[in-house]
Amino acid sequence: MTTQVLNSRVNKTMNKTKLSFLILLLVGLVAPFAIYPVFLMKLLCFALFACAFNLMLGYGGLLSFGHAAFLATGGYITGHTIMQWGLTPELGVLAGTLCSAGMGFIFGKLAIRRQGIYFAMITLALSQLVFFLYVQTPFTGGENGLQGIPRGELFGLFSLEGNLPMYYFVLAVFVIGFAVIYRTIHSPFGQILKAIRENEPRAVSLGYDVDKFKLVAFVISAALAGLAGSTKSLVFQLASLTDAHWHMSGEVILMTLLGGVGTIFGPIVGAATVVTLQNYLSQGPLASWVPVILGLIFVICVLLFRSGIVGEIQKFMKKNFN
């Protein structure tokens, strides 16, 4: 895909990346004073989700159509452990993340040997099974979901009930997740991942156990998706089937593509765009047109700027500034 070229450039632009990330971070720190924190938190959660997904698609070259399962699992486990076992938020989130990682491992074990569309479909199928499981098992509260999950006290000390403290907690989580992804991409492991995507048979003949690498990447991606879900469930104090539905898997693809597959900031931008749109269109006259508008964005994005917002910007920069 067009992204390969971009990635090969990532190394050179590493410092640029660091800089822009610092800027983003500053924005993130002051944002809640200008914008409704809960909205920002939602945005951050989805941004993290999209980044996790992008690790798989953009850098692992594998399109997963089942990431919703991880998002939901994170949420349910966090909700359950906090409500039933009275865990503190950070532990609840940890639990959610670990479970998603575990599920990621199972998904990976089953799917990783398949390529392209088959990989996508197996992951989709598995996530459908998970969805079914969550509809059937009582602990998820069926279509009512887990209601009124307490945000609780961080480390049993600082209350997260207020929107501001909660926001900074979410921000911190996001930064950690993002850092993990960034490091993964720029690590010895990331190198091999790149090589595999470039030319898999060759990687094999060089003695690399390709499947293991993909699996690890998948588990990391799943874990981070779970992290996003766990955090989300704390923010909204609710874990519901919406997150497990395949539409969610579709949505994260949209976000990533819109922002720019295989670009480090793309998913964030994409998530921001989509979440904002949904939020502001869903009330007022255009409400019933939301799907149509999203559809239009899809079409335009695919036809006109295929490498996504960030991707196109990078291209533009490349053309005009070096």
């Binding site: 090969s8 720029h186 990331g190 048979p201 690399y208």
Partner: protein, 251 residues
């Protein structure tokens, strides 16, 4: 006695539904030799080759590498054991720099390939070795180019360099000079000669010029079975071989 045979096959058979592509082949590749596999089209060379490199699994028969049975092992495993294949179509990582290509190959021995928490700078220790390898195939000055941008012959050279990076005991080359202009053919021949020192090489090749000037020993396949075996002079004199494969060309 099978000591000085790096690679050995015993009664190797490969059948594709109702059709025997490789028929009871007993191949013995001597350590340090450049061993060529030739034969008419459809004789079963590539199939044979794919069996040896585990891209196909034999219907019957055994494959021994240094005396150990590797018939059931995975491509990854045998690569680790020091038996490395180089591809017919040039096998490089097109969008990585030439240096990175070699580094990927070297990286494995570092044992940090799964460390997703380490910085990739931790790989810079490999650069010297990588450059050395590039020197060996005189690609040093290309080190920073993105691989796609290199001409065909160079890519083959790079591929060889990456293969060497694994310090293979046995190299398997499938038509190494295929689709090359004469210049490149000469260069690659020189390369093969150079790297064959202290190594064993098994190659499939149609270019008689290459075969005659490189190989110590030749196995001729026909219809999946071994027709004859021996040094070039001997083989090329064999009337059957001429009739089935060389035609009047060899002389």
């Amino acid at each position: 006695m099978s000591q000085d045979f790096v690679l050995e096959t015993q009664g190797l058979i490969k059948e594709f539904k109702g059709f025997t592509a490789v028929d009871d082949v007993n191949l013995q590749v001597q350590r340090g030799h450049i061993h060529a596999l030739i034969g008419p089209n459809g004789a079963g060379k590539t199939t044979c080759f794919n069996l040896l490199t585990k891209f196909l699994t034999p219907t019957h028969g055994k494959i021994l590498f240094n005396g150990t049975d590797i018939t059931r092992q995975s491509p990854t495993d045998i690569a680790k054991m020091g038996m490395v294949r180089s591809f017919q179509i040039s096998a490089v990582f097109p969008h990585l720099s030439v240096l990175d290509n070699v580094r990927i190959a070297l990286q494995r021995k570092l044992g940090t390939s799964f460390h997703f928490w380490k910085s990739e700078r931790s790989l810079d220790v490999l650069n010297d070795r990588a450059m050395a390898l590039l020197e060996e195939v005189d690609l040093a000055k290309w080190a920073d180019t993105v691989t796609v941008e290199m001409p065909y012959g160079r890519k083959r050279a790079l591929e060889l360099a990456t293969t060497l990076a694994l310090e293979p005991e046995l190299m398997l080359l499938d038509e190494p000079t295929q689709g090359m202009g004469h210049e490149d053919v000469e260069r690659v021949m020189a390369l093969i000669k150079k790297v064959s020192v202290g190594r064993t090489i098994l190659m499939v090749e149609h270019n008689l010029h290459v075969v005659s000037s490189l190989s110590d020993r030749i196995t001729v396949l026909q219809r999946g079975a071994v027709l004859t075996e021996g040094p070039y002079e001997e083989v090329s004199r064999n009337p059957q071989v001429r009739e089935a494969y060389m035609g009047s060309e060899a002389a």
